[in-house]
């Protein structure tokens, strides 16, 4: 295991832990923790009586579980692509 992989794993653990801690702080303080994009967009749309609509079907149609699964799959696929091409660029240390 080279330094790069070690650093990546440390970063992954730190980021995951940080996200859990921040989410938990938000949860115990009773905050909604909604997305800012949607909040500002709703505020803006209300000034004209508009409502956001989804023309293309998305993971939202499958409820909360759809979002969890969708985001997890997106992260996994993105991560695998990144890792695969990283070896292409940096070179395989085991080769």
């Amino acid at each position: 295991m080279d330094n790069f992989i070690k650093n990546c794993i440390i970063l992954l653990v730190v980021c995951t832990a940080l996200m859990c801690v921040l989410s938990y702080i938000g949860y115990i303080s009773g905050a909604e923790m909604g997305g800012t994009d949607a909040a500002v967009e709703e505020t803006a749309a209300e000034t004209r009586g508009l409502e956001a609509e989804g023309i293309i079907p998305s993971v939202e149609h499958f409820g909360d579980m759809g979002e969890y699964v969708g985001f997890t799959l997106a992260g996994i696929v993105g991560g695998f692509i990144f890792g695969y091409f990283w070896i292409d660029i940096k070179g395989d240390n085991n080769a």
Partner: protein, 219 residues
């Protein structure tokens, strides 16, 4: 910066689409040119594409404001692979984000303009400016991420205000910007950290990537 369908007027959606398409055309040219010069540019594009896709939809909780949001990743990509190619990658990422309930097909031009064009070019401009005054690579890259991130959301606020509130445009622009800033500021700091770290790491580990790309880092 993910504006949904049904929010912006038809006229403004069309304007943002036209602007985005101009940059996309330059992006296709940049990708074709660089790929023909160096085939290893293609895996670098795929790498940055997947990074932008994940970073720009990766919601980070900000308990201080009781909300969450995400960084953008385009300033980092602009420094590593070039600005016009980054516009293409961010457009592809934004299309995929629609399936994750972020953004919309009619507002794709507006979202590409804020994240793909403003985030990219302001970020890269900041990087080059800092390099020109002698700042180190990590500091220049960090500020590129920070400024690019903040400007992306100020642009989104601009897009909302100019389309929805043309009569009180300036006032609403400020209001929407202030709606974004408390959550985006901590995330812009996160964008500073990872942009600085990744660019510095690549410069140290694989400096030839930057040499091939026209010496932006040394410029």
């Amino acid at each position: 910066m993910h504006i949904s369908d049904g929010i912006l007027s038809l006229q403004w959606n069309a304007i943002w689409y036209v602007i985005a398409l101009i940059f996309i055309a330059f992006g296709i040219r940049e990708i074709k040119q660089r790929t023909s010069e160096d085939p290893s540019y293609m895996p670098l594009l795929a790498l940055m594409g997947s990074a932008i896709f994940v970073i720009a939809v990766w919601h980070i909780p900000v308990p201080v404001t009781g909300s969450c949001s995400h960084p953008i990743g385009t300033p980092m990509s602009a420094i590593i692979i070039g600005p016009f190619a980054t516009v293409i990658l961010s457009t592809i990422a934004l299309i995929l984000h629609i399936f994750l309930a972020h953004g919309g097909i009619t507002s794709l031009g507006a979202n590409t303009f804020s994240m793909g064009i403003v985030g990219t070019f302001v970020g890269l401009g900041t990087f080059l400016l800092f390099r020109k005054v002698g700042a180190s690579i990590w500091l220049s890259a960090g500020f590129a991420g920070f400024v690019g991130s903040v400007m992306t959301y100020i642009t989104t606020a601009f897009e909302l205000a100019i389309s929805l509130n043309p009569d009180s445009f300036f006032q609403q622009w400020m209001i929407y910007s202030l709606g974004f800033i408390p959550t985006q500021l901590p995330l812009a700091i996160a964008e500073f950290i990872f942009t600085a770290a990744i660019v510095k790491y690549i410069v140290d580990a694989k400096p030839e990537i930057f040499k091939k790309l026209g010496g932006v880092v040394n410029g």
